[in-house]
Symmetry: C2
Subunit: 124 residues, 2 copies
């Protein structure tokens, strides 16, 4: 796959893919005779996983750390597991906050509905 296809399939822009490579989030792919990037299809799953880490609030520096560990192979399994476990905890806390906030939203929406009804047909 050329970079354009990877971009289409992952939703990341071509510039972002090259940027991710530059900062070490994506391993530098092979090049063809013309010096152009040729990606294996592993990259799709990897980018998807990066997006999940991203969307659940892991910051760039940590994703880079994880990516570099990943590129170093099996000797880094323990370190990677520890990172994932730590991130799991972060997610768990965010989940709780989200649930609380959702409950608060419901409460406020209900309250606003009451107030709207009163405002539309004043009783006094």
């Amino acid at each position: 796959m050329m970079i354009g296809e990877v971009s289409d399939r992952t939703g990341l822009s071509i510039d972002t893919l090259r940027f991710y490579e530059k900062i070490g989030l994506i391993a530098p792919p092979m090049r063809n005779d013309a010096g152009r990037r040729v990606y294996g299809k592993d990259v799709l799953g990897w980018v998807g996983f990066l997006e999940q880490l991203n969307a659940t609030g892991m910051k760039q520096a940590d994703r880079i750390r994880y990516a570099k560990l990943h590129q170093q192979g099996d000797s880094t399994l323990r370190a990677r597991r520890e990172m994932l476990q730590a991130h799991r905890e972060v997610i768990r806390e965010k989940l709780q906050l989200m649930q609380q906030t959702m409950a608060l939203m419901d409460h406020k929406v209900a309250l606003y509905e009451t107030l709207e009804a009163e405002t539309e047909t004043p009783q006094t």
Copy 2:
């Protein structure tokens, strides 16, 4: 309350409190004879709510819109309710993604544990 106390109680820096006022997230408080800000205690709850919107991914521009509606009083109840309902949906989707990602973390952690065990005491 002076700005320093609000900062201590909310965890926002003094600069951030003034910045939030400048961009319209916090209503300009009264001033004392010396021209210094004097906040009512409402501000604590308001800042807490802003933080919850923030932490659940609402962006600045939308929080400002909500804050401005809030400052305009009851005539904006409907618009505010609609914003909260929309945000509730966003949170619900994020919740789902978080749950999926947490399951994936668990899966990977378990996998890594297996691989670690194999690496430590190779069987072949």
